[in-house]
Subunit: 408 residues, 2 copies
């Protein structure tokens, strides 16, 4: 498979074979005029897998996903924005189940084949009457992807989709993925949601493994504000309508599918960071030469998490001391004598600012790199062969304003 | 011992028996006009103990402290602000050792009995000529504590001292402690430093255990911006001049000394948070009913770390969803059905906002609590008997401005 085969396209509108989507405005929040309830549906039953928040407070829809995904099969997702249906107790759980039932009745499938996701305010109940009315009005179509993408947005300023394909010409699979962003949101906590649809035929255990790997390399490597919400959910539905035997570890297309799924997730993860509340740029940190993959990931994540680094990048300050200290603070094995730090940007070769000791460097060029929309920090640890990349947003006065100005 | 016996006094100027201190302006940073080199000295040799940063990048002076505190004895501390002497390689280590030698020569003690601490810019070398000149000019006196406190300040807006005493009248011990604040600082990373002097006679292993316990309950329970610097150091010197046998686990004054040391450290830890860059208030989170002390500490720390909570408190938003999610995110065992959350402030009884489910509450009163200079969040987990308290600053536009406006 060439790189072109798996390239992702932002804003892709093409749903894979057999998938339909649609959305309407239910008025979950009467004060906000936007699409807020959507359905993603496959005409054929799907092999499915999910990854959920590590937060111990889990929202009701997430519990319903866990129930319904028990057998690794599903056929539809119903999602809403405006209300997270979290910390809502028994009533919340009943409401989430009813959402599945409403969608199932409309689609003439079993409620247990419907997954449910919600994002928005915590601690308030869903307006079920309005949801019921909305579900009856949703029109599903092969062109409904962008509407579905808009229906799950909260503070996102733009919809986030990715499309890709993989496999050889005779056996081509397509993927379509949609996400909405993380970042705390007034009046309450926001959520990261992602749904992937593919017409590839997948063995369930292989699909679950591919999704875990994709999430670890993408959504688990981004940082907006170091918070993990109660509703974070990533779901993949594979309907197999492209034909062929199930893709498993030994299948010739296995690697290509795995890469394509990871690429889609990385594309969306970066889109979430780029659209973070109040952010002005994306910080990419690539750690190389680490002792282990776990260490490489810890170090890269800590650099993009550090408020000191986030504020320095926002201010275009080539402050390598903060980067070095973040790596030292990550828990990853490292030695300041062996570490090398450089700063670059797309189209700007960059400057090495630290090589086991402070280096004299061209501060003007370093500041130019830091002024770019995507700043790249490379940390070479010189200890082993493992590498990882993380992405984070910078932090700005506007972030603080957005997250404090609201009063419940 | 009554509570009065161990009460701490902010800005205490009284050094314990046999301790002298002093400071001058060396001009470590020629652009900043302040005291920047100080010495704290005991006329008698001291039992000593230290706790250092967990960051893998350790500054040169910290390495010298570890070398010289090997035997658990010391007699003086020399400290400077303006330059952290971190990431400075072999030359930095030689400079830190020379600082110890300069102080030792002045005080006519062994260099190995001198501890060294630095705070300020990372990656630049100390101006040793100016430090040498400064050491010769320092005049030590029993009234020199406040000058020493000023000499270690960086972005701190005020010196931070605490005094206390403990023990019965016939066997009274006094403590004096000084600290400087954490919080990232332009142009580089700041540091938390704390030095405690006491005339109590201590067995070294008991002193080390008391210090570890005090640090775990104080400096390890505060959060300004979730970063751990390369220079963080807490040192205690006990010269025993109050007389009596060494205080050990079985000694009648053991508990009193332990409490007094912890109280002094908590007092200073809160003072650091209250003086955090750009902060407008202190957030105190008390977690009760946890399964274990480790869980109670994790949960309390995560609440005061969460940017979502910090910004909500800054904006006086009684946003309990963010508090519940932070507890859920902490890794501590918890159940949202059992959790109870209330918000209060000194002199304001407070309001319960969540009890296993959202509660209707008086938002005006909740906002009044959140407008206080010290906001108290109480989380009852209902699982066990363990409790812990953490303190954090809120986060403001001013924090972002302070940490990004500077360009190296």
């Amino acid at each position: 498979m060439s790189r072109e085969d798996e390239s992702s396209t932002e804003g892709s509108v093409l749903l894979p074979r057999g998938f339909l989507a649609g959305a309407v405005r239910a008025g979950v929040r009467p004060d906000i005029d936007k699409l807020d309830v959507g359905i993603l549906y496959s005409q054929a039953p799907c092999t499915a897998a999910g990854v959920y928040t590590s937060n111990r407070v889990k929202a009701a829809p997430l519990l319903v996903c866990q129930e319904n995904l028990g057998e690794g099969r599903a056929q539809a997702v119903i999602a809403n924005s405006g209300c997270a249906n979290a910390a809502t107790g028994e009533q919340g759980l009943a409401d989430a189940r009813q959402m599945a039932e409403l969608a199932a009745a409309k689609l003439r499938i079993r409620p247990s084949d419907v997954l449910v996701a919600s994002t928005g305010v915590i601690g308030t109940l869903l307006p079920m009457k309005r949801i019921e009315d909305a579900v009856s009005r949703i029109e599903l179509s092969a062109a409904g992807g962008p509407d579905f993408a808009r229906a799950i947005m909260t503070t996102d300023t733009r919809p986030k989709c990715a499309g890709g394909h993989c496999g050889r010409q005779s056996e081509a699979y397509s993927l379509w993925a949609v996400a909405k962003g993380a970042g705390m949101i007034h009046p309450n906590m926001a959520t990261m949601l992602c749904f992937v649809a593919t017409d590839a035929p997948l063995a369930q255990h292989y699909l679950a493994a591919c999704l875990r790997e994709a999430v670890d390399a993408s959504f688990n490597m981004i940082d907006v504000d170091s918070d993990t919400s109660t509703n974070d959910t990533v779901i993949v539905l594979a309907n197999g309508l492209a034909g062929g035997g199930p893709i498993d570890d030994g299948h010739p297309a296995a690697g290509a599918f795995r890469s394509a799924l990871t690429d889609c997730c990385i594309h969306l993860a970066k889109a979430i960071v780029a659209d973070a509340e109040g952010a002005t740029k994306v910080i990419e940190c690539a750690v190389e030469g680490a002792d282990s993959l776990a260490d490489a990931r810890k170090a890269a994540r800590e650099v993009v998490r550090s408020l000191a680094v986030k504020t320095a990048v926002y201010g275009c300050d080539p402050n390598w001391g903060r980067i070095l200290a973040a790596v030292g603070n990550s828990g990853a094995a490292m030695s300041e004598e062996k570490a090398v730090i450089s700063i670059s940007a797309l189209g700007n070769g960059g400057v090495c600012v630290y090589r086991g000791a402070p280096l004299p460097f061209d501060a003007t060029q370093a500041r130019a790199c830091l002024g770019a929309p995507e700043v790249r920090i490379r940390v070479e640890l010189g200890l082993g062969d493992s590498a990882a990349t993380a992405w984070g947003s910078d932090i700005t006065e506007e972030y603080v304003r957005l997250n404090s100005a609201y009063t419940t």
